[in-house]
């Protein structure tokens, strides 16, 4: 479904990501592991079009998308749920969600249906639908950020560190929801530092280290891999 071939990303003369190749099959849940600054977010921003790759090709369902504007990429089916659960703090929960369905704004019925689906997935958002998003707790804000991304009905959902800064119990819930979203038919590409939790729900994974992919494999392989265990799981 998504195919990155030899993609490099540069900021001026600094190379953030060098010649990585990643593929994500339809219906898969793939995780990118790596510490801060390893290049996960740069990769995400490049897939979603905020950043242009300096080299390499990105194909979505066999069509090249590198160099397209972010709005066109959202329309073609890739939606990024940004790091730091960026919301529109003054808007209400519901208004935030409706903004997420921006590309489908002419299809009122579909937007309403998506809204129902998101409320079903995150009942707490229904309770707080008229409150300003800035008043939610960290976990609720993350749910809203994911819910807003789902409103665009993505074929491929990019989740950038959804567990960052959340309480362990909430993190567990978050991963359950991500698994459910994936089972319901959305392909998910997940960037995480929480390797153990992520690999438990993932099909496959890639390990990033200072801008390149050093290990790749199925979730079982990675969980058994010594370097991965030492670096990210601490066992």
């Amino acid at each position: 479904m998504l195919e990155l071939t030899d993609v490099s990303i540069q900021y001026g003369s600094f190379t953030a990501v060098e010649k990585i190749s990643i593929h994500v099959g339809k219906g898969e849940l793939v995780v990118l592991l790596g510490s801060n600054g390893a290049g996960k977010s740069s990769t995400f921003n490049t897939i979603s079009g905020l950043q242009k790759p300096s080299y390499g090709t990105i194909l979505l369902e066999e069509r090249p998308i590198q160099g397209l504007g972010p709005d066109k990429i959202v329309r073609s089916g890739i939606v990024q749920c940004a790091e730091d659960r960026k919301l529109f703090p003054q808007m209400t929960v519901k208004e935030n969600l409706v903004m997420g369905g921006y590309v489908h704004r002419r299809k009122r019925k579909q937007v309403n249906q998506s809204l129902q689906d998101v409320f079903e997935l995150f009942p707490v958002l229904l309770e707080k639908k008229d409150q300003p998003a800035g008043s939610l707790s960290g976990g609720q804000q993350q749910m809203l950020a994911i819910g807003r991304a789902l409103m665009a009905k993505p074929k491929l959902l990019l989740l950038d560190e959804p567990s960052i800064g959340l309480a362990p119990l909430i993190v567990e819930q978050m991963f359950e929801v991500i698994q459910k979203i994936n089972k319901d038919g959305t392909t998910v590409l997940l960037a995480e530092q929480n390797a153990f939790a992520a690999l438990k729900i993932a099909d496959r994974g890639y390990v990033f280290e200072s801008g390149s992919v050093v290990v790749e494999g199925t979730a079982e392989e990675l969980l058994a891999n010594d370097t991965v265990r030492k670096a990210y799981i601490g066992a």
Partner: protein, 341 residues
């Protein structure tokens, strides 16, 4: 329109005050000042959409105001065109210029955008000032006609002009209300919040920003054209830098990014500067510190501060019943403990 009036006491109050004012205070001088204030309000509403809701501080606004004014002035004086067609054309010309300027300037952001538009505004002023054969240069343009009759309604008396401009202002407010409370308005706010985030939601930011820029220019042009036909004499100084900073002051005092802000700010400053007339230019000694204090303590102006205060009160009301309940529960518990103990 009905939904606009519900929950909007301030607007009903404003409309009533506006309609009744000439009867309550039949004073030609006040009427003149207030009509002028209405014209500034229309211009400030335009500026508010771009600077307040979208987060792009354009300093070319006075330039567009002047283009609207000169557009109407030249079309009516030099070609003898019908007033209403000239008014429409003046707005169209200003919008078209806005489109061209927007296409270039919106590629920059924040202070670069402000500096760029400041330059554009100054260039417009210079062109008006120096293009003697077309604009009359420093001598200005004299003899701009008042609005021509619509059927039996004529606009020759100050009161009829007052009501005409008041009607245009209400129309402006209605349009602003519709924009701000629609998805389009929230799209602008999303761009103000974070352009990157807006783009990851699939919003074409350039298209939306351009739309706002053109709309803003349109309202500046409308205000300028109304100004020209109200004062009936225009000089290049209406496009000068001081005008944009006046407009900006009105907006900041009233509340940037609020619907009532342009009315409150413009009215207050105009009234204040009229009543401090005797101080002449020393008025600025009062305005300067006042404005500084306001920006430090109430960055969203008077209306913004009022909104915050109401929100806090609402919050307090929402949490109070809960606290009382908790209090009762603990009381019950202690009662129980006392009984059991």
């Amino acid at each position: 329109m009905v939904s606009l009036l519900r929950n909007r006491g301030w607007l009903i109050g404003f409309i009533a005050a506006g309609v009744l004012f000439p009867f309550v205070l039949p004073n030609a001088y006040f009427l003149h000042i207030l009509t002028l204030a209405f014209i500034w309000m229309i211009a400030v509403y335009g500026l508010n959409l771009l600077a307040g809701y979208t987060g792009y501080l354009s300093l070319a606004h006075a330039g567009f105001f002047a283009v609207g004014a000169y557009g109407l002035g030249l079309l009516t004086v030099k070609t003898g065109m019908n007033y209403w067609i000239a008014l429409l054309l003046a707005c169209v010309i200003t919008s078209a210029l806005g489109l061209v300027v927007g296409l270039v300037s919106l590629r920059t952001r924040e202070h670069f955008f402000a500096i760029y538009t400041l330059c554009v505004g100054y260039i417009i002023y210079l062109i008006i000032d120096k293009w003697d054969s077309l604009t009359g240069g420093v001598r200005g343009l004299i003899g701009i006609p008042e609005p021509s009759n619509i059927g039996p309604i004529s606009f020759q008396t100050p009161i009829s002009q007052y009501y005409l401009i008041f009607a245009f202002l209400l129309l402006t407010i209605l349009i602003m209300y519709r924009i701000v409370h629609s998805l389009t308005g929230r799209t602008f706010i999303a761009i103000r919040n974070s352009e990157d985030l807006a783009r990851t939601l699939g919003i074409s930011t350039m298209k939306n920003k351009l739309m706002v820029f053109v709309l803003t220019a349109f309202f500046a042009g409308l205000a300028g054209a109304l100004y020209a036909s109200f004062i009936r004499f225009i000089g290049p100084d209406i496009g000068y830098i001081t005008i944009i900073f006046d407009l900006l002051t009105y907006l900041l005092v009233g509340g940037i990014g609020t619907l009532a802000g342009p009315i409150v700010g413009t009215f207050l400053i105009v009234a204040l500067s009229q009543s401090l007339q005797f101080l002449q230019d020393y008025r600025m000694l009062i305005f300067g510190p006042l404005l500084t204090l306001l920006i430090i303590f109430y960055p969203r102006g008077i209306v913004g501060a009022y909104h915050d205060w109401r929100l806090k009160r609402k919050d307090a009301q929402r949490t109070r019943p809960q606290k009382e309940q908790e209090y009762f529960e603990t009381e019950e518990e202690t009662e129980k403990q006392v009984k059991e103990g």
